[in-house]
Symmetry: C2
Subunit: 158 residues, 2 copies
DNA sequence: TTTTCTGCAAACGGTTTGCATCGCT
DNA sequence: AGCGATGCAAACCGTTTGCAGAAAA
């Protein structure tokens, strides 16, 4: 009910979810995927968002031979399983964040520093229904992102 | 008030708007830009959306030496001036369409055939205000896109 | 003639792919 | 041992950039 839900998530729950997704999608439990899972648990805890490159660079520190493609492949799986949310910024870039299992929500982003806040405003379901009838489309999903400036960036910008 | 506003726009009005934007942003009236304007007027009329490559290929038929970069540069101007809307599809691709001067609206897209319908549902302004207070962000814009399947694609898919 | 804009081609950045090899099971 | 996943490097694709030359003013 509160329009914000930023911040830490339960480590154990997240870890289990990630492993469950990997178990379902793959048939081998490999070291690279374990490393990715671990790092994501950390990122979930701190509520941090990240680019694929961020994640790769992080992991490369402990495993220099880890391949970029592996990170792409895992992130894709986790996005499809909606454990990760992809956040699109106004400038066309995008980042990811662990939002897995949270109720439906959207993102408010700072155009200057790329800070992200989860928000739970949305379109009224009746409107979707109405629109569906009117256009004769089935409406199966939507994306909503708000753009603005956070307090910090407004402060320093003016 | 109707949730749809598809279809033809007034040729003359659109043409004038495009020229006005070019006049404001550039200091030379050039042949390539005139060609782009003309093509966009046609596209506006038919309500068609297009990719940059579509536009380039079209124009190249009458002017084989026209450069891709020129098209990019003009489209960028027109998007910034919000004469063109950029429509992002669920699969990560995007296309453009002439929506210049229409009131605020969003897009309902068909995941299968990329058909686009303009819709005028939106978040209630009070919610933005509320959220702004709560998060201490200034909220300066938003993007909303609905994903689904149109009647045609549902028909043939099932 | 001057200066802007264009066309070209090369660079770019993020992402995907093909394939030999590695390492789970 | 067998086969799925990885690491690597090259390909890819849409977009941007630098620059010499073309064409508006």
């Amino acid at each position: 009910m509160t329009p914000m839900c930023r911040g830490g998530k339960d480590q154990l729950v997240i870890a289990e979810k990630i492993y469950a997704i990997f178990d379902q999608e793959c048939q081998r439990t490999t070291r690279p995927r374990r490393m990715i899972a671990d790092r994501l648990v950390q990122l979930a805890q701190s509520g941090q968002d990240f680019s694929i490159d961020d994640l790769w660079q992080d992991l490369r520190q402990q495993e220099p031979h880890l391949g970029r493609a592996t990170v792409y492949r895992s992130v894709e799986m986790l996005v499809n399983a909606s454990l990760l949310d992809r956040i699109d910024f106004a400038d066309g870039t995008h980042r990811y964040r662990v939002c897995g299992g949270d109720e439906h929500h959207h993102h408010l982003t700072c155009t200057a520093c790329h800070r992200v806040v989860d928000v739970d405003i949305c379109i009224a379901p009746e409107l979707f229904a109405q629109l569906s009838k009117l256009t004769n489309f089935s409406i199966e999903g939507h994306s909503l992102t708000l753009y603005g400036h956070c307090a910090v960036c407004r402060g320093s910008a003016s």
